[in-house]
């Protein structure tokens, strides 16, 4: 009896699956590198939402190296003439692919959803090519965060979160004197560059940041402010433990979590790590923006590639609409630890760090201190970013002087342009 029930159920399920396929409201194949933890869960939300609309979701996860492997696959796919429907692709990369004529626009969806009015202008600009939306942002990450262990700070006698680099240095010295690791850091080029850009923002301010790291102004790159930034980076280097090389960022976060290290400078995805370990913000860990009144923007987005066939095109549009829906933006970002890309989503369910992030974002838009992240591929083409990463990581791993670094950086940027 039970067996027959089971069989009937299985039959019914398979029929349902078939039927679902038949009345699918569009098909999407999504290439991404969110393969674990909160990220995978966040993508799962999108998949569920899409399937709830009757669509068919083909998942193509390719993890590793912040999307390097995925980018390799993407090129092969475009070359072969069967690109995925949507790709986790962001920043100037969107423009590069658009210039190749490899993208589809979703302008009609954007107009209906009135995207222009709900996205920060700086972000909207990145999502568009020739005035039309070719990508949809799912979130906003803030890069310039300091995460701290209250336990470690207490042990070292540091009372407040630093607001200037001088204060930071003083606090770090105290931590070291207390026998703790001052700065938890992982020696991977993108992490080195993350430190670098927060330092540049803190030392030079948003205008300087924009000139040097976005517009790539030669004079700015060769300026004394840049030298001062490298000096501070050198200082940070001295606060890092000897075994940092190659360490993954989440291991560094773990060091702060366990109170072995005082600070970590990392984007707000680190918060997800704390939350996943059951830590409470404000109690078990502290969050504060890095010195300087700016907001370094990092945003993940899905870019729509040139697929053909009605089924795929339809799926593409449905996906674009779903990504930008307030409901999805909320669910997704609760899972991932970032804040919604839409500025009009209420943040009642979010934690204090996220709320703070949101306030700072609005203020930054107001004051024009919102800058795109260089380290996270929001500011400059990948070729130039590569030169930055090479130089910064070289500086971080050698005893190169700040003067030298400045000159070499400017030369390298010139070469890549």
């Amino acid at each position: 009896m039970l067996r027959i029930d089971k069989l009937m159920l299985a039959a019914a399920l398979s029929c349902a699956a078939l039927a679902g396929g038949a009345r699918a409201d569009g098909t999407v194949e999504v290439l991404h590198w969110w393969t674990s933890g909160g990220e995978a869960k966040a993508v799962g939300e999108l998949k569920q939402a899409f399937e709830a609309e009757g669509g068919k979701w083909i998942d193509s996860p390719i993890a590793g190296g912040g999307g390097d492997a995925a980018m390799t696959a993407l090129r092969a796919r475009v070359m072969a003439g069967n690109p995925p429907t949507a790709v986790q692709l962001k920043g100037p990369g969107i423009q590069e692919w658009a210039e190749q004529g490899a993208l589809n626009d979703v302008q009609d969806v954007a107009e209906v959803g009135n995207w222009d009015s709900v996205l920060p202008p700086a972000l909207a600009k990145i999502m568009k090519y020739e005035g039309k939306y070719v990508a949809a942002p799912v979130n906003i990450h803030r890069v310039d965060w300091i995460w701290a262990s209250p336990e470690a700070l207490k042990k070292a006698g540091v009372e407040a979160m630093p607001t200037t680099w001088e204060e930071f240095n003083a606090a770090a010295d105290k931590l070291q004197d207390a026998g703790l690791i001052a700065l938890a850091h992982g020696g991977q080029p993108w992490q080195d560059a993350t430190l670098f850009e927060t330092v540049v923002l803190g030392i030079g301010g948003a205008d300087f940041y924009r000139k040097a790291l976005v517009e790539l102004d030669d004079a700015a790159l060769r300026s004394d402010t840049m030298i001062a930034s490298f000096d501070q980076l050198r200082k940070l280097r001295s606060y890092v433990d000897p075994n940092f090389s190659g360490r993954d960022w989440n291991l560094a976060t773990g060091m702060v979590m366990r109170g072995e290290a005082g600070f970590q400078i990392m984007g707000d995805w680190a918060k997800g790590e704390f939350l996943a370990a059951g830590k409470v913000p404000g109690e078990d860990f502290l969050c504060a923006s890095t010195p300087g009144n700016g907001f370094i923007l990092n945003s993940d987005s899905f870019t729509f590639f040139k697929v053909s066939g009605e089924d795929n095109l339809k799926g593409q549009k449905v996906l674009a609409r779903l990504i930008m829906s307030p409901e999805f933006q909320k669910v997704f970002n609760l899972a991932k630890g970032s804040i919604p890309a839409r500025t009009d989503v209420p943040l009642d369910d979010f934690d204090i760090c996220a709320k703070r992030s949101h306030e700072d974002l609005l203020a930054a838009i107001e004051n024009d201190t919102l800058v795109p992240s260089m380290a996270h591929e929001m500011a400059v083409p990948r070729s130039v970013r590569g030169e930055f990463l090479d130089l910064v990581t070289q500086f971080f791993n050698s005893d190169m002087s700040s003067q030298d670094a400045t000159t070499r950086l400017a030369d390298a940027v010139q070469r890549a342009m």
């Binding site: 390097d68 692919w97 080029p189 433990d241 090389s245 090479d390 070289q394 971080f396 791993n397």
Partner: protein
């Protein structure tokens, strides 16, 4: 009927060529066609995707002006030289030792050989742990009471390339051992007996007689190891990711980074072309000697 059989006889005579011609066509297209394509791309403005606008030698200028490329080349030479010589030395040593009537030879041989079966995608993480000063050997030795012991090559830009050599040797030296052991086993027993009668001890027997006889094995082992060295990619990516900084970059990783991470296909193609020229320089003399030997 007769003309039919004559036709089939003619076909039969041409059959070997017919059988080989698909192989030839495949290599021509998939190897040489693609090489030509790459060479062409190196003379174009290609960035994110191939772009067929001719751009002269600009990509080569860019390549040779990139400090990282010099690091990659220097690493290739350091790595290849050390990797080949150490693998050969260990391979020969172990083959000779295993040849001394070791009862559990089968087990030991399998242990020596198994790393070849595993890709660095599989073993990369564990190598990272072992070599990491805070997790692996250094910590272990320090816990054992040698407080001042330092083994931080993995995180030291000047020495990191040697850890890559260590892991590469780990993977391939067993294979070299197998090649040499096979070579030793194909040496006529009577020659070894003659050496024993002639009064040669083990050292003299191997250095004076047996190893010189293994010259061909030597050559093919070097070629196989060289090809592994030139292609080494997974290893670097898994172990150091090219770091610290780009201290352990190699031409293969350099090319990959420029083509797929940085959207500089042109530079990548230029570096690939340089790499292929290096391969030609190594392989052609080998092929020449190979062909001359069998032509007779």
């Amino acid at each position: 009927m007769q003309s039919g059989s004559r036709l089939s006889a003619r076909l039969e005579r041409r059959l070997p060529q017919l059988v080989v011609s698909p192989l030839f066509a495949v290599s021509l297209f998939f190897v040489y066609g693609f090489i030509l394509w790459t060479a062409y791309i190196s003379f174009t403005k290609s960035g994110v995707m191939p772009n067929y606008t001719f751009d002269g030698l600009a990509q080569y200028q860019r390549l040779w002006n990139t400090p990282r490329w010099y690091v990659a080349i220097r690493n290739l030479f350091v790595f290849t030289a050390l990797f080949i010589s150490i693998s050969l030395a260990i391979g020969i040593l172990l083959a000779v030792l295993l040849d001394q009537r070791v009862r559990i030879e089968g087990v030991i041989r399998t242990i020596y050989l198994y790393p070849m079966a595993l890709s660095f995608i599989v073993t990369g993480t564990v190598w990272k742990w072992i070599l990491n000063p805070g997790l692996g050997i250094e910590r272990l030795v320090r816990q054992a009471g040698f407080e001042n012991f330092t083994f931080d090559w993995l995180v030291n830009p000047d020495y990191a390339i040697y850890t890559v050599v260590m892991a590469a040797v780990w993977q391939s030296s067993g294979y070299a051992m197998a090649l040499f052991l096979a070579g030793l086993r194909s040496v006529d027993d009577e020659v070894l007996k003659a050496a024993a009668i002639d009064g040669a001890g083990p050292w003299r027997t191997y250095t004076g007689i047996v190893l010189p006889m293994l010259r061909p094995v030597f050559l093919s082992t070097v070629i196989i190891l060289a090809h592994l060295a030139i292609k080494s990619f997974d290893l670097v990516i898994a172990l150091t990711g090219g770091g610290p900084g780009y201290a352990t970059d190699m031409p293969a990783t350099f090319m990959y980074a420029f083509a797929f991470q940085r959207s500089e296909l042109g530079v990548a193609a230029a570096s690939a072309t340089m790499m292929l020229m290096t391969v030609v320089a190594i392989i052609v003399p080998y092929l020449y000697s190979e062909l001359r030997k069998t032509a007779g």
